[in-house]
């Protein structure tokens, strides 16, 4: 493994040259370049450390990264949500975070999404959290060809959309007033039961 590869994200495990399947949208990560901010050489330069000290510092960082990732699996549901929301806040707090004129994710939207997730019954599995260019956070449930996305905007309106296994579509908007609407809860329960 080259030095630059050590600081690849998980995404580096994929070969960017993989060809896509005919009918699928294939994701290809861009490999980090030598001028990227997280390369080993940059860390050495900025830390002012040389030789053994630099190596030790890098080892410590790698150890911390590994432990951080390892601990993710043991975090409670709530801690995991907080961690995901923090990541989204860090990445999407400024306009144009997606490179295509996205609206920033506001603290209000972060808080409302957190509040919504806290109110979900325990038997509902945790969704993936997906920042949307409209400034909302999508809560995405996916399971074997079925999917459901729920998001809350800053005006307290819930938007939901989903696909059933049979190819049916569900979608709509509902006002959010601090209680999870029964329609949403029913859809989530159907999803969980399938």
């Amino acid at each position: 493994m080259s030095d630059a590869a050590i600081f690849f994200d998980d995404y580096s495990i994929f070969d960017a040259k993989k060809q896509s399947n005919n009918n699928e949208i294939k994701f290809s990560p861009r490999k980090r370049q030598s001028d990227d901010s997280l390369s080993i050489s940059k860390i050495n330069e900025s830390s002012g450390l040389t030789g053994g000290k630099a190596s030790q510092k890098i080892t410590n960082i790698l150890y911390a990264l590994f432990n951080d990732r390892f601990n993710t699996e043991t975090l409670s549901k709530e801690h995991q949500i907080i961690r995901d929301l923090k990541e989204i806040w860090y990445e999407c707090k400024n306009p144009n975070w997606d490179g295509y004129d996205a609206i920033e994710i506001s603290k209000k939207v972060i808080n409302m999404t957190f509040e919504f997730l806290q109110k979900l019954p325990n038997y509902i599995i945790s969704p993936e959290l997906v920042p949307e260019p409209t400034g909302e956070i999508g809560m995405l449930w996916e399971f074997e060809g079925e999917s459901l996305t729920v998001s809350i905007d800053s005006n307290s309106v819930i938007t939901f959309a989903g696909l059933t296994k049979e190819g049916g579509e569900i979608f709509g908007t509902i006002p959010y007033s601090k209680v999870i609407p029964s329609r949403i809860l029913n859809e989530l329960e159907n999803f969980t039961n399938n």
Binding site: A16, R30, I88, I103, P133
Partner: protein, 84 residues
């Protein structure tokens, strides 16, 4: 370049947010294809048929990343027939 776009043509969407990629599934998430509110009926994709891998990345860097001052994270490749 031919302005007639065929269904079999390959196109690419450049990605700047890691939250828009599912690494395990090697797929893009739906939000990667949501248009901005400023242009609600448009998203940018790039024609990549017959281009070399390095040329495809160059387009993303020069015409998308540098213009928006963002670091290119990845891309999603698809056929025109996948979306029309």
């Amino acid at each position: 370049m031919d302005t007639n776009i065929k269904n079999s043509e390959k196109i690419s969407r450049y990605i700047f947010s890691k939250k828009h990629c599912s690494v395990q599934k090697e797929k893009l998430k739906y939000a990667a294809f949501m248009p901005p509110t400023s242009h609600p009926n448009e998203i940018s994709v790039y024609r990549i048929s017959n281009l070399k891998e390095s040329e495809i990345w160059d387009i993303g860097i020069k015409f998308v990343a540098e213009k928006s001052n963002r670091q290119l994270f990845g891309r999603g490749d698809m056929k025109v027939s996948d979306i029309v």
